[in-house]
Every structure is written in structure tokens, then in C-alpha cells.
């Protein structure tokens, strides 16, 4: 991506995210938008955002694709991979060449290479010295993110952190943990709704996700509320509307 296009795109992404934060937004939807914008701006092919649950276990909350293969890479990444190292150290982890990254993460390395990914950049979501998750960008080519892109990735990750914490303006104790758990639980509800929709419309679960997101957009609803309506069977998205 040329420098001008990249800067324009980066500015546009910040404007878009800031606009979202002003409205009554859906956190999972916001994080999806963020991951999509990041992959476009930094010219990588896939991305995923992980949040830590109460046990410090990283869970995939948003990714550029809902397809099982990318989800699998991200889950391996969260079990033993650059993602978990980034989370533990609170510092970015850049693997410029996954094929020559040693034996630290055999399962992740094998799966990433099998799917054609050769480099990964993981950046922490930080809040006052605490790391609450990581943003992971996967590229099909070998090489590092340059220093400027790394800064931009950190800035976008900080926006995600703000988004998670601002979702509800509560000032209770332990609010960080609660917002995280809320986002993770929202993700569970979305998975249940994907199941309902895929069964009703005879579509794949990843198609079901896109259908739900499209419905949320066109009806100006939060993704969480759409998912809730689908599981509770008060919203029906008919197959003909799926495109």
C-alpha cells in the first residue's frame, strides 16, 4: 500500500472507530471492524483479537474470518504461540519468519505454515500496566512490520482497549474484569446464534456470522442484541435475505 493511501486509510480508521465509540456500539462488532481495518492498513492477510478471561486464558473475540482454519490458528496461538508470549510479557512479539522461528511453538508453527502464513505480529492491549489481550496480524510473506506501522498498530490496539472499557460507563469495582467477561460472554451468545441460524438456513456457521452482522447493520442494532433475538427465536433472518 502506498504511503499516502496508507496514511489516509489509517486516518479514516481512527475516524471510523471514534465515530463508533460515540454511538451505542457493540463491542464484538467494533473489534471486528478494528481487526479488518488493521489487516487492510498493514497489508496483512489475516488478523485476530484475543481477550483474557478470568483465568488468564486467551479467547478469540474477533477475527477477519470466522472460518474454522483461521480460528484454529488463533486458538493454537493462544495456547502456545507468539500471542500468549505477547500477553505474558506485555510487549509486542514479531516473528518475521515463522518457518525459522525455532521449536517454541511447534503446533502453531505447523498450522500457520500449512495455511500459508509466514510472519506474525502480536501487539498487547494494555491498560495501566495490565495486559488484557492481544491483537495478532498474520502475513503470507516473510518480514517485520516497520517501526511506524508497529506504532500505529499499538495505537489501534489502544482504541480497542478504550472500546472495551467504555462499552458501559460503569464505575463499579473490578470493572475491567467485568467488561472483559461481558465481551467474552457476548462472543458465546454469538456462537450460539450462529448455530441457530446455520441450522435454520442450512448455511455454514461463518456465513451465519456475516448474515447476522449484515442484519445488525441494516437494522441499526447491536450484534449482541441480534444474536440474543436469534437464540430466543424473536428475530428470524430468512434465507432469501442472506444474499
Amino acid at each position: 500500500m502506498s504511503t499516502v493511501t496508507r496514511e489516509t486509510r489509517l486516518n479514516a480508521a481512527f475516524v471510523k472507530l471514534a465515530d463508533t465509540l460515540i454511538d451505542d456500539y457493540d463491542i464484538v462488532d467494533l473489534l471486528h471492524t478494528l481487526v479488518e481495518e488493521c489487516t487492510a492498513i498493514f497489508d496483512v492477510q489475516a488478523g485476530g483479537l484475543m481477550l483474557a478471561d478470568a483465568d488468564g486464558q486467551l479467547q478469540l473475540v474477533a477475527s477477519t474470518s470466522e472460518k474454522a482454519d483461521l480460528v484454529e490458528i488463533m486458538q493454537l496461538n493462544a495456547g502456545q504461540g507468539p500471542c500468549v508470549e505477547c500477553f505474558k510479557t506485555g510487549k509486542p512479539v514479531a516473528i518475521a519468519d515463522i518457518a525459522h522461528s525455532g521449536d517454541s511453538w511447534p503446533a502453531f508453527r505447523t498450522e500457520a505454515l500449512k495455511q500459508g502464513f509466514h510472519s506474525i505480529y502480536a501487539t498487547p492491549l494494555r491498560l495501566r500496566g495490565q495486559t488484557i489481550g492481544t491483537l495478532n496480524l498474520l502475513s503470507t510473506s516473510v518480514g517485520d512490520l516497520n517501526a511506524r506501522d508497529a506504532l500505529a498498530a499499538q495505537a489501534l490496539s489502544d482504541v480497542a482497549t478504550i472500546g472495551i472499557l467504555q462499552e458501559r460507563l460503569a464505575k463499579e469495582r473490578g470493572i475491567v474484569a467485568d467488561q472483559l467477561q461481558r465481551a467474552l460472554d457476548s462472543r458465546v451468545l454469538i456462537e450460539q446464534a450462529k448455530g441457530v441460524l446455520s441450522e435454520l438456513a442450512s448455511i455454514n456457521v461463518d456465513e451465519a456470522f456475516n448474515a447476522m452482522r449484515g442484519y445488525a447493520r441494516s437494522h441499526n442494532m447491536r450484534l449482541h442484541d441480534v444474536a440474543d433475538g436469534i437464540v430466543g427465536r424473536t428475530i428470524s433472518i430468512v434465507p432469501s435475505a442472506l444474499g
Binding site: 478470568a54 493462544a78 463499579e172 473490578g174 467485568d178 460472554d185 450460539q192 441450522e199
Partner: protein, 229 residues
């Protein structure tokens, strides 16, 4: 407290984790707490109690089949009874007469949820007649949300003899399990809570893991419509 209190407390309290219920007692102005989870269709296990009276109340709600616990489980929303004697006599007569003698003033029940599935209930009691403030209710809901994944893991481990994973995702967070729950609820025209119970019951009966059953459902190798009742 009567000498017999807790004698029926054998519904598989084999693995009680006091710390889960202790958190509610530490953070809220209540006297005691118990946490129970749905193990499979119609069966529940108490996984944590803070004290003997909490265990006794829990026991009685199970034995009598009435109380705020059941309403929270059924409706998936909190049930607040700040004055048990005033309200409970009408709605839960047996429970009320059984426990007011122990000096229980108020009962509060909060469902443990994972997405749309109710996986269990946190039962709180207070020795005084006094409501929880709005802020305290918010906090109790947040605490319930926080302990829900742990409670679910307990329930699955208890029901299926599955060892908790040491590496990778905890079983309850694997996406296929939730997706399969959604598919089963359509296949059987039931709600999410019941669908999840069926999923687990099938795994248990077949001697395979919940994850394996879920994979079969999502891959459309298994349809719960085709299973015998």
C-alpha cells in the same frame, strides 16, 4: 441450626470449592452463598457453599423443589426476596416455614449464564430483612458472570469425567460447543439451556467428549432429530 442440618448434602459435593461462594460473601452485604450447576438434564450439583446454613438452604430448595433458586433457573433472571417472611409464605410456603426459623431474612438468586444457556444458580441469603441496592445487584450480576465459566468447567468435569485441559482452550469456550447448542435447539425446538443439557447428556451416554459431539453436530454428521427420545 439443627443437628441434622446438612445430612442430605450429598448431591456430589465431592469437589466443593469454597472460594467461589466466598467471593460473594466478601464483596456483598450478605451472610452466605451457595453455587450449584446443572450437570445434565434435571440434575444439579452444588459446587460451592460458604457455610453450613447456606448448605442447609440449598438442600431444602432441592428437597422441596421450590424457592428463588428454581425461579432463577427457570427464567434465567435474578430473583430478589428482601423480605422472605412477607413474600415467601405465599409463593414458597414449605421453604419459608422451614428456613425462617434459622433466622434467614432475605434470599437472592442469580442465574449463572453462558450466552443464552443457564448453567446454574448462585443462591445468597441474608440474616436481616433488607434489600440489595441497585449497585449491589449490579455487582452480584457481575460476580455471577465472572464465576460462570469456572462453574461450567466444574460441571462438565463432574458430569463427564473430563480432565480440565492443560493446554489450549478450556472446553467450555470451544466455539463448536456453542454452535452445536444453537443447532440442537432448532433441531429439537427447545430452548438453549435444554439444548445444552441434551448435548452434554448425549456425550455422557455415548462415552465421548462434549467437544466431539459438538464437532459431529456442526459438521452435520449428527442430527439430534434422528436420535431416539
Amino acid at each position: 441450626m439443627s443437628p441434622g442440618a446438612g445430612e442430605n448434602f450429598s448431591r456430589s459435593d465431592s469437589n466443593p470449592d469454597r472460594s467461589l461462594s466466598a467471593r460473594f460473601v466478601a464483596e456483598l452485604p450478605i451472610s452466605g452463598a451457595s453455587i450449584s450447576v446443572v450437570v445434565e438434564s434435571g440434575q444439579q450439583s452444588t459446587i460451592s457453599v460458604s457455610d453450613a446454613l447456606a448448605a442447609r438452604i440449598d438442600d431444602l430448595q432441592f428437597a422441596l423443589g421450590e424457592g428463588p433458586h428454581w425461579d432463577a433457573l427457570r427464567h434465567g433472571s435474578p430473583v430478589l426476596v428482601p423480605n422472605l417472611l412477607a413474600v415467601g409464605g405465599e409463593v414458597w410456603p414449605m421453604l419459608t416455614s422451614a428456613i425462617t426459623e434459622f433466622g434467614v431474612g432475605a434470599l437472592f438468586a442469580f442465574p449463572l449464564r453462558t450466552g443464552a444457556v443457564t448453567i446454574g444458580v448462585v443462591d445468597l441469603y441474608r440474616s436481616t430483612v433488607e434489600p440489595l441496592t441497585e449497585r449491589e445487584v449490579t455487582e452480584a450480576v457481575a460476580l455471577a458472570r465472572d464465576v460462570a465459566p469456572r462453574a461450567l468447567q466444574f460441571a462438565i468435569t463432574l458430569a463427564n469425567d473430563e480432565t480440565p485441559p492443560t493446554n489450549g482452550l478450556a472446553v467450555e469456550m470451544r466455539r463448536e460447543v456453542h454452535q452445536a447448542t444453537g443447532m440442537i435447539l432448532v433441531q429439537l425446538e427447545i430452548d438453549a439451556t435444554e439444548a445444552f443439557a441434551r448435548l452434554r447428556a448425549h456425550a455422557f451416554a455415548s462415552g465421548i467428549t462434549i467437544q466431539e459431539v459438538a464437532n459431529d453436530v456442526v459438521q452435520r454428521r449428527l442430527n439430534f432429530r434422528d436420535l431416539p427420545e
